[in-house]
Symmetry: C2
Subunit: 666 residues, 2 copies
Amino acid sequence: MFLFFPQPHLRPLLNSLKLSSYTHTLLQYTHHCRHHSTKMAAAAVPAAAQEAQNREAFRQAVVNTLERRLFYIPSFKIYRGVAGLFDYGPPGCAVKANVLAFWRQHFVLEENMLEVDCPSVTPEIVLKASGHVDKFTDLMVKDEKTGTCYRADHLLKDFCKEKLEKDATLTAEKGAEYKHILAVLDDLSPEELGAKIKEYGITAPDTKNPLSAPYPFNLMFQTSIGPSGLSPGYMRPETAQGIFVNFKDLYYYNGSKLPFAAAQIGQAFRNEISPRQGLLRVREFTLAEIEHFVDPEDKSHPKFAEVASLEFLMFPREDQVSGRSERKLVIGEAVAQGIVNNETLGYFIGRVYLFLTHLGIDKERLRFRQHLANEMAHYAADCWDAEIESSYGWIECVGIADRSAYDLRAHMDKSGVALVAHEKFAEPKEVEKLVITPIKKELGLAFKGKQKMVVEALEAMGEKEAMEMKAALESKGEVDFRVCTLEKDVTIKMNMLTISKEKKKEHQRVFIPSVIEPSFGIGRIIYCLYEHSFYTRPSRDGDEQLNVFRFPPLVAPIKCTVFPLVQNQEYEEIAKRIAKSLIAAGISYKIDITGTSIGKRYARTDELGVPLAITVDSTTSVTIRERDSKKQIRVSIEEVSSVVKEVTEGLSTWNDVLWKYPTHSS
Amino acid sequence: MFLFFPQPHLRPLLNSLKLSSYTHTLLQYTHHCRHHSTKMAAAAVPAAAQEAQNREAFRQAVVNTLERRLFYIPSFKIYRGVAGLFDYGPPGCAVKANVLAFWRQHFVLEENMLEVDCPSVTPEIVLKASGHVDKFTDLMVKDEKTGTCYRADHLLKDFCKEKLEKDATLTAEKGAEYKHILAVLDDLSPEELGAKIKEYGITAPDTKNPLSAPYPFNLMFQTSIGPSGLSPGYMRPETAQGIFVNFKDLYYYNGSKLPFAAAQIGQAFRNEISPRQGLLRVREFTLAEIEHFVDPEDKSHPKFAEVASLEFLMFPREDQVSGRSERKLVIGEAVAQGIVNNETLGYFIGRVYLFLTHLGIDKERLRFRQHLANEMAHYAADCWDAEIESSYGWIECVGIADRSAYDLRAHMDKSGVALVAHEKFAEPKEVEKLVITPIKKELGLAFKGKQKMVVEALEAMGEKEAMEMKAALESKGEVDFRVCTLEKDVTIKMNMLTISKEKKKEHQRVFIPSVIEPSFGIGRIIYCLYEHSFYTRPSRDGDEQLNVFRFPPLVAPIKCTVFPLVQNQEYEEIAKRIAKSLIAAGISYKIDITGTSIGKRYARTDELGVPLAITVDSTTSVTIRERDSKKQIRVSIEEVSSVVKEVTEGLSTWNDVLWKYPTHSS
């Protein structure tokens, strides 16, 4: 649930911008863009700076195309916009709908998950229980004169990076210090951050005014529910809580059986202090979250075998700590070797890998990185992020965490409602239970005001410790006992407690399920997909570079275009007939009856990532052109929509139909 | 955009609960529920009260089923919930997803609309321009001692209804007065409402304490964007504004051509004072809105012929005013007779009719009601609501309004960005233009501080009036002229202005498009659909009433179930094989391998509205049972998923397959 969580205690952000690993992104880009790369390669700058420059140029090319073709639009643009808010324009909106539809197919349908849809407006008590009211904060500093706000860690990070990159007079010692700060940035306390800002004389970037000390700012959008002003509420920072609070009903709906998963797609909100990184850090975004509830004593998965042989880039904790790089691992082996904590977690890692690569994420720029011990919440059993490499570096796009029973227990404690599962035994089991009974009168006489702490410590003894005490008391009559909360040993005597083992018949086991949570940042995945799908190629006469998105048909915003070759009524009629049959087949299309040259019309839709173009050049048959190969086949008018349907719904590949129909050369 | 708008000036709520028209809903229900109806008919109560009681009983039966089977869940239930917030549980969420998918198919794909997806968090300036900051209010009164808030109109309405229904001593005169108040409730000013509350001695319902005077409460959830506290924002009360502010880009994306439509599906938020009516009046809900932009001089629609012959219940303004009921009209004739303002509006009314009836809304309980003159905003050309009859009365579920250029003009004025369309002339047109040039010096001398208002009045003259003034000035040298803003006549002399006609060549016409807006309250449609789909029938042994939702396959939350007839491994293996082929075909299913009797398993899924049930009773073929007819066919295991796909995707009807396969009797 705590995807992209800002506070180390809950879910720290990884400072994951690794300069060195960008090169192949660029290679892939420049492979299609010689013109550009030649120019860039000519500049005489150091390798790291050169790469940063290439990366920036690549990103600009992608972002310009995205914005010009309305994949996205800065929200409320005519009012000069709001930082961190973006609209999806028509092609972007279609891509998003396709990604979500595939998510539903791949996860919800495939696993028979229970999908729910809860409101964004959330009363305070829910987010108090989850920890967000107290801990969902970033550290902020204010320009002391203008009041402008900044993220304290961003300022310190920018300062260190700038020094490392541009300060030629830097000593080795200072360099090491700055690097160390970048490494531990997320772990710094407000006091440590403030001290460093002071020490380095960091001022407000825009005005050079002095800065306030860092203080926590809660990232939730606050509001008030109802007219009284007495019921504070927040816009949810994640969708997961809606599932947790419904656990009891969902468990019952599932026939009171574990394991089962619930899922939710919806908006989440984070009032970022100063949003940066374009589409990657925004104030409102779509999350798709799964909460898979399992018996903590059995985290095997019946379908694990289906993914066990998948091999992909993983980056286990040990490799990170010892400075190695990510490496290819077979997920079945990673689970067998205990690198991944359990089968269910491994199963979802495999399923996430399949999901992302099906969308068109490059598998060479996708890795699963394990959280370091200090990144992970104390209750988490294990946690892996699917990170996708983009021009911004490695970006956390999916978090896959085994969160143990933490969330359900938090809501159970706060609400007083039992959020538990039952395992009925086939026949009652006889169990031996340890029973510790403090004799409060004697303990009170002996320890007075400290009695409560002694009692708690006695009751908290494990079986082994208690049985040892019993033996010692029986042989010696008294025993020394450490009470941690008092920070000292006390003397326990025979008359102060009884320790026994009793046999009981139990009909069921009652327990709080563990939850394994894959949580998807849909907007981040889509942005990375844009970068991975983008390339350029020269136009036919070579005088310009044309942009192409190589989206798989599954993702493409529009599945095909319909172009009458020349403007005449006969061809237009046929184009409309084809359009009708496409609508009937449920295929999105774009018709262009302008007199623009066919080459220009192809280029326009290549830039939208449309996989197939139908050109009407006769009254009996048409051509279908594939976007990336630019190859064409000739198909009769009657067959055209079924051929398009076959290819775009993945029943056939382009290569399949290329064999089946005559090719056409223009 | 102003769907369910609370303020008369913008979009008034219709007090549409018509007791008399409920009877056939009940008939339809009792038709399947004799047991129930007999009991109800036996009670000796007056007809109106009897009907109210029946309606209440019917609603309770539906709502109990919905809540028990998790179609919806009061949000944050374990924390005792929040009024006006509901979760969609698994079947409800699936129904919603199906309705939205069909909406996309029926509107966005069919009309090639430009779908966008904008954030809910909206800066104040946008909602200032749209009028929501100033006018999106309800009148509220407070319990003067406890501070509890109530909607003023609700209290007055409840008082009048109670008197009319229960006060046996009511005089004819008083009765007429209360009826009049109910009729004009939405038009009452805060002062009038307050006066009536005082006159009738209405007190706080819970405490009987005195009430404050009514005052406006803004229904938007307010928040603050960014950390400074200086940028107020709101959760959008509708999705339409996101489209209007993007008009310029969308028009360009559409090749600078009109007409075109943009669409958006998303959450909207209204901080209701005291939500009532269960799922119909909630604080957060999904809207699906279309903004169809047209040339105000040409509101014809190329596809109007496709809907023109549709006939359905309409309720034109004149019929309402003269006390008649809704009646069947052919939409083509309604447009031809000028009852509906224009073809485009008529086209969308027809498409909305098709949309709703395809979902399963009963066409006899669906009507299109035209707004009365006093309901409609002054700028609107015409407005029709699709109202669906439910146990709460006639419920506004879709608003279809011709809002003229109002919204684009409002944002153009506020932002200073031209939100206009261009019509390029084939060749330049010579036009005669009226030019009025006030001579400010002379006007200043004559009118001093009032000069501005005189100048504005002169410039606002139409062509006819100006040419008459020109003639009068030329013959008499001066003329009396009415200045409305001064509320008096002034004397205009020859030297105060020039009036002329000049010939100009124009290459294009520049204008603000009109917008025709169909706006869908998805949650309301779904709730009405539940009521229209619900019926009960006796169990086989007649000892209980079983609930059924007769959802069409398009809407059904789960398309089919898979039941091994008895618990054995062979049948379970086959059930799993079938499940796999269903997943591959993209069909949602539920598998039930419990040993529960097959009748009980059918009943359980009938209650979820699952249309088809596959029972595995051999290793070569299975039976498929249809929910409503309970008829069964026998199909081979290889064919079963394709038969289910055919029927649930609407390629065949159940009757088609009933012919094709051998029937099975159990």
